[in-house]
């Protein structure tokens, strides 16, 4: 379980408060979608929750362990053991092959079976290609395989379909949905697309650094059932 209590975060000299006291609880194995307008604090919330950034105040607890109290080295170790990331712009390493990009995640936890993940995302044939030789959707699939290769307990996705067209976007979401169902890890996904919220167990809507709505979906839809 992830529990955020009184999280505040500012940039600059404190004049730009992005998170204004966030309290949140995410149950293990759930699919959580965070929506909101640009500048509402979604990405900062993801960065703080995943341990990429420190909060100015408050605590971020994973099963009772406050990661805000950890040193930088300990936070790095924590991310290594628990967290996976998928970004809107993929951020693949351009000079190594698809296979090595996925191996980047796998080597962290000694996962030798990462080829099956490349196969699961449908890129086994293209595993020796460089990321620049792939389409946007393919690159995002590599980035998902890379994140899952380290067997994370929590997968953070920042606008994973933001740079993709509808067809490719649905494919990627369907892949995430399937892999989460199989792997039973927690997913926290940020998206502008309100329709994606229909896929989640829990939906959080943010505005001006605050959570303004939090609701549970009684009926989840698949990636091909939601609107776009």
């Amino acid at each position: 379980m992830i529990r955020l209590t009184g999280i505040k975060k500012s940039y600059g000299r404190g004049e730009n408060q992005v998170l204004k006291g966030i309290d949140l609880c995410v149950r293990a194995g759930e699919f959580v979608v965070v929506t909101g307008a640009s500048g509402s604090g979604k990405s900062t919330l993801l960065n703080v929750t995943s341990g990429l950034e420190r909060a100015d105040a408050g605590s971020v607890e994973y099963d009772g362990r406050d990661i805000e109290a950890l040193s930088d080295k300990e936070r790095t170790r924590f991310r290594r053991q628990n967290i996976g990331f998928v970004f809107q712009q993929y951020y693949l390493l351009p000079h190594v092959s698809v296979e090595k990009n996925v191996q980047m995640g796998a080597d962290l936890v000694g996962n030798r079976d990462y080829l099956s993940l490349i196969e699961a995302v449908g890129l086994l044939e293209k595993r020796r290609k460089k990321p620049t030789e792939l389409s946007g959707g393919e690159q995002q699939r590599v980035s998902i395989a890379r994140a899952l290769a380290k067997k994370p307990k929590v997968l953070f996705l920042d606008e994973p379909t933001g740079a993709l067209d509808e067809g490719t976007g649905r494919q990627v979401l369907s892949l995430i949905e399937r892999l989460q169902r199989e792997g039973k890890f927690t997913v926290i996904m940020i998206t502008h697309n309100q329709n994606v919220a229909d896929m989640a167990d829990e939906v959080i809507r943010m505005n001006s650094g605050r959570i303004v709505e939090q609701r549970r979906n009684s009926l989840k839809k698949t990636a091909y059932e939601i609107g776009w």
């Binding site: 991310r79 053991q81 000079h95």
Partner: protein
């Protein structure tokens, strides 16, 4: 054009190398011209032998050291142009979209030739001061009259400026012709790579992607090793002033190349370093993935530098000064090697440690915002 004053900062390295090349070439070519001016006036056989040895020495130093520095300046220039093209890829794309041709865009790069010209002028000016005040006090066995060779100085400033300006345009044209994506698009070959760990592969890919940095890191170590060891020997073979000159040139070249390479490495790999940090790779793993691949090149540079200084001094003593009386004895300076090696490990260790700290500070949020 897209080239601004920030790009000219990259030229600092080229300027320093050009200054050193011009300094050495003006020094020894001017010395040679002054020697030729007294040709036929000498009668003492000992003086004639010394005269011929000096003539040969000036030619060898000018050719070997001047040539090496001129070649280094050319490689450095290529590196600067590639970095500038990469740094301005967005503006260049816009200009191309507006209808500018590769030829028109590359013409603006002639400015880089000015950096070479400025370096040559500074090196020549330094040689003018050094020549009568220090150099001729060391080589005082012949009745030489130091003269100002205006033509030589012009040649050493104008010719490189024009040649390197033309080279800059050609290099820029060739770089612009081949887009970055195409340069990066080389499929990995061979089966061995598949078995490598990710970090080993990243180490290899980092070196392979920036091969020119391997040259500069090796060159830096080469300069440090060759010039420090040569300066130890020079103090015994020539004079303290010559030793200091060698040391200053060597250290200036070594540190210029080192800082340039390491800055470029950290900057060029900021994205990878930040991503590795986000994924949970330790500081040590992150740094080795970027710097580790260059360690063999630094060892190689140091070893070649040791051999170069030994070979050059051996050639000087054995061939140039043969037949002369009172030729100083020369043997490989083992003590000098150890002192140089210890200084190398200590100094380069501190510089690398500083850059490692800099690299570890890279945060994904900041790095990604800059992309």
């Amino acid at each position: 054009m897209v080239i601004g004053h920030k790009d000219m900062k990259r030229m600092l390295g080229v300027l320093i190398v050009a200054a050193c090349a011009s300094f050495v070439c003006y020094l020894f070519l001017s010395y040679r011209l002054d020697l030729l001016a007294i040709d036929g006036t000498l009668t003492d056989p000992e003086q004639i032998a010394y005269y011929q040895a000096q003539l040969l020495m000036s030619e060898i130093i000018c050719l070997v050291t001047g040539g090496l520095l001129a070649a280094s300046a050319m490689i450095l220039l290529l590196f600067c142009i590639k970095s500038t093209v990469d740094a301005h890829k967005k503006e260049l794309k816009i200009l191309k979209a507006l209808g500018y041709s590769d030829g028109e865009l590359s013409l603006g790069f002639w400015l880089f030739g000015l950096g070479v010209g400025l370096g040559c002028a500074l090196g020549g000016a330094a040689a003018l001061v050094y020549l009568p005040n220090v150099f001729y006090r060391t080589f005082d066995a012949l009745p030489l009259q130091p003269r100002f060779h205006a033509g030589l100085l012009c040649l050493l400033v104008l010719l490189p400026t024009l040649v390197y300006a033309a080279l800059s345009v050609l290099m820029a044209y060739s770089t612009l012709k081949r887009p970055r994506a195409e340069r990066a698009r080389r499929a990995p070959k061979g089966r061995r790579r598949e078995k490598r760990s990710f970090l080993r592969e990243l180490e290899r890919a980092t070196v392979s992607n920036k091969k020119v940095l391997a040259f500069f890191i090796a060159f830096s170590c080469f300069c440090f090793s060759a010039m420090t060891q040569m300066s130890f020997s020079m103090e015994e073979l020539a004079s303290k002033d010559m030793a200091i000159m060698m040391l200053v040139i060597g250290l200036a070249l070594a540190f210029m190349s080192l800082f340039l390479s390491l800055s470029e490495l950290v900057k060029g790999n900021a994205e990878s370093l930040a991503l590795l940090k986000a994924f949970g790779y330790t500081g040590r793993e992150r740094c080795f993935s970027v710097f580790g691949g260059y360690l063999p090149f630094s060892a190689l540079g140091f070893a070649v530098g040791t051999l170069y200084q030994w070979g050059l001094l051996k050639i000087m003593i054995t061939f140039v000064f043969r037949g002369m009386e009172e030729v100083p004895a020369y043997a490989f300076d083992l003590k000098g090697l150890f002192v140089s090696l210890a200084a190398f490990v200590a100094v380069y260790g501190v510089v690398l440690w500083w850059y490692l700290l800099k690299a570890q500070r890279a945060s994904l949020k900041v790095v990604m915002a800059e992309i």
